[in-house]
Symmetry: C3
Subunit: 340 residues, 3 copies
């Protein structure tokens, strides 16, 4: 497909410095875009690439315009503007409707005629597959689960029984939704499993990354609100609630009965302990441990970061005695106070 | 199904304060249970919900009895008692025996007539599927593997070759058992893979959470003892041994050749380095790093926890010089000692 | 199969102290190897087992020769020598060529006649499956992807569209290659997904552990160079580049646009933040957080390690005030300086 630069400027609401009839046929990085490609500049780390770019045009901020050797699309939020251009040039493709001969669809399941059910997938009893849903190869949708309009299960996804998934939900390969929560209790040294009777509700416009797991609730449901974006290999425990438009980066670990507010950003590999409540608009940077609730919006951190191994060993050895160190400092202060 | 309160009190060995003929048809949370539902109270975080509950009856401790506005089932261990009630009201369902037409069962495999082999699953050469085993849709059981009586593989599970799985083992979706351990050695800058000749043995009554991976041993077997409960996305390296009735929470990372004792509890996202030995009855809280063996039962911790980002930055900057700080403190102490 | 000790000594280039005609039929640990098995000794942790071994022969260093009660195969690098012996005695088995009747191969796909396409697998449009490739049960290879000569996809692997995989690549069960990178941008409080137009390139001789995920690039490709070895449950974000012969242990988290050099070793559960550049020959120990680029080869660490829970609580409480502690120490030093 080909687009005119003027058309793109209009679509992304940018101010065009250049020829509106210039033909654009795709996007590329500053380093590698060719003369029919659009690029973008938002990260000063890559400033040197702007000056030598051979892209047809670059989406950027007004303050970077003079450094741009080619046409500019000037925007207040160039990354968002660029994103819109990419989305415009790469619309989501719909799949051909129909059930592949090798797919197994239970007789009591209901599959919309516009849905695409791929090879070797399985749809359980009384499951409901909505309009334009895509169920990729090797996916399993178990009994009584509902997949809303326009949702996509990429490949080898497992949706357990009685799960409710909204519209336009994108579920990447290897995801498991609705495994039993980790509910056990001890009886004379042995663990007794507690049946997990709740479900998982996933609202509209949620994305779920590859190999992520979201457990079903013990009694009530685990709930992922509208527009939540979840990266790969995230674990969400039973009865947790993730507020609308929150983003969770890769390998974050959210234990059971956690409540996260709206518009939060949870960094990669961050772990949140059970029963924690996090208010709206909280940012937690990566690899942090959260063991107390967060009542005030803001940015929170708790990761240990690297040094050379020798320094780390010495510092960790001291850390193990940090409390004593503090007590010794207090003693020194007291002595000085007395002597002064 | 409906149950009488008196019947439930007997099943869970609780002291009933109320009408034994009261009809119970399910369980619910204190907040939401209706007048035909049983609830429980064990976490003081939720004390306000007890006072206003509309449940038919609540399982609780004797000291909370007076705060309960409805019938009580008084127990010394109310969570355990509640668990037993839920289990009684929700017995495990057996699946219809038979091999689905789309399942591929090798001719040399042996499948018990009571087993249920679901759509698009695969059973390899000489594999043995025991009595009442459930192999869910999309599961793969490779050559020579044995699945013991009453075990369940939920969906898209991969059991590699020559694996031995005991009775009543529950394996959630996406689990991989018996991938090669990470055994490599370096030859002039390149890695040489060491064939992994061991297997995985999983004893009776083990539960394994979604997308967990348990590697096969290098020479001898990786071993998961009886009654171990493993949450989602846990990694267990080759030749590790997990002692009976140990519980491992989500996303814990257990490297190779680790030995964990009986009745331990390993917190979520905790990582245990290779060749570590942990004795019985050890609790390790979440997000901890374990780099030394643990010889004494007790509770151990090593997670860094969050503060606001600014405080964290300042503290981490100081931490990088903690050793110097300690040396400076010593110098101050010496100076004071001399001057006094 | 049976081997003579002299033959093995030659294969692994070791100095044999013993009978070259001694028959070896396998390998075992020092503790358990029988009189027809080869063992090895490299880890002093297990010194006591060397003295009482009943193996036929042991691969070891010259300095340990005198402690060995049985035949010795003396090598400068006994672990490498042992690895070579194991590889020699356990050559990779080739699978019978052919497409299983239950596999679905698109008519436009090209599958080499020597490839083995197993039960319930799926090969998409225009995909290319090379010579001697093994596509295990339940695997999905989507449209336009290429699997090079001799590569193996074990089971339930998902290779998304337009991915390029080299020769002799080993991909364990549950792996997902080419899911969309986590590219989102915010528009008035809601997240907008940025189409991920790049691919994943995996070069020759790469191993990828179970349930690992490697995302496709946003514009250009995510790249795994030759001979990289990746353990289980590793996450590699979009546009990251992993240099040749780097090894990445289990559950490491590599965010987007990270560049890791050649011959690095990344410890288990270590997390590397986005846009970080790590030079060649860097070792990062496990559970570390990397938030700055590393320009010098060497060993780096940043994990917090456990103490008993009480000590940890006290130390963490002090850590939250470490900056103040340092300021107080400075004040004490100043006071002492003035008074002296």
């Amino acid at each position: 497909m080909q687009y005119k630069l003027g058309e793109l400027a209009e679509v992304i609401n940018a101010d065009l410095k250049g020829d509106p009839d210039c033909v654009i046929s795709g996007v590329g990085t500053l380093q590698n875009a060719g003369s029919d490609q659009l690029s973008f500049f938002t990260n000063r780390r890559y400033a040197r690439f702007l000056k030598s770019t051979t892209a047809a045009a670059v989406v950027l901020s007004v303050e970077d315009m003079n450094d741009c050797p080619v046409y500019s699309l000037v925007s207040k939020d160039p990354y968002l503007a660029y994103a819109k251009a990419v989305r415009y040039m790469n619309p989501e493709q719909s799949s051909d409707p129909g059930v592949h001969a090798s797919a197994i669809v239970s007789v009591t399941a209901s599959v919309h005629s516009s849905a695409c059910i791929c090879a070797n997938s399985y749809i359980g009893e009384h499951a409901q597959i909505g309009e334009n849903v895509y169920v990729g190869p090797g996916c399993v949708v178990e009994d009584n689960s509902v997949i809303g309009k326009g949702s996509r299960l990429v490949a080898n996804v497992s949706v357990c029984h009685n799960i409710e998934i909204g519209e336009r939900v994108l579920i990447h390969a290897g995801v498991v939704i609705g495994a039993d929560g980790f509910g056990i209790t001890n009886e004379e040294g042995k663990w007794l499993k507690i049946p997990q009777l709740g479900s998982v509700e996933i609202k509209d416009d949620v994305d779920i990354g590859a190999n992520t797991t979201i457990d079903r609730g013990a009694l009530e449901n685990t709930l992922i609100e509208e527009g939540v974006k979840i990266d790969n290999q995230v674990q969400i425990g039973h009865n947790s609630i993730i507020g609308a438009y929150t983003a969770i980066a890769g390998c974050a670990v959210i234990a059971g009965s956690v409540t996260i507010g709206k518009r939060c950003m949870i960094g990669g590999a961050t772990a949140i302990a059970g029963h924690i409540v996090i208010t709206d608009d909280v940012v937690i940077t990566g690899l942090s441990g959260v063991t107390n609730s967060i009542k005030k919006p803001g940015t929170y951190s708790g990761a240990m970061t690297i040094t050379d191994n020798l320094t780390w060993r010495k510092n960790m050895a001291r850390f193990r005695h940090l409390n004593e160190l503090a007590i010794r400092l207090k003693a020194v202060e007291d002595k000085l106070d007395k002597s002064s």
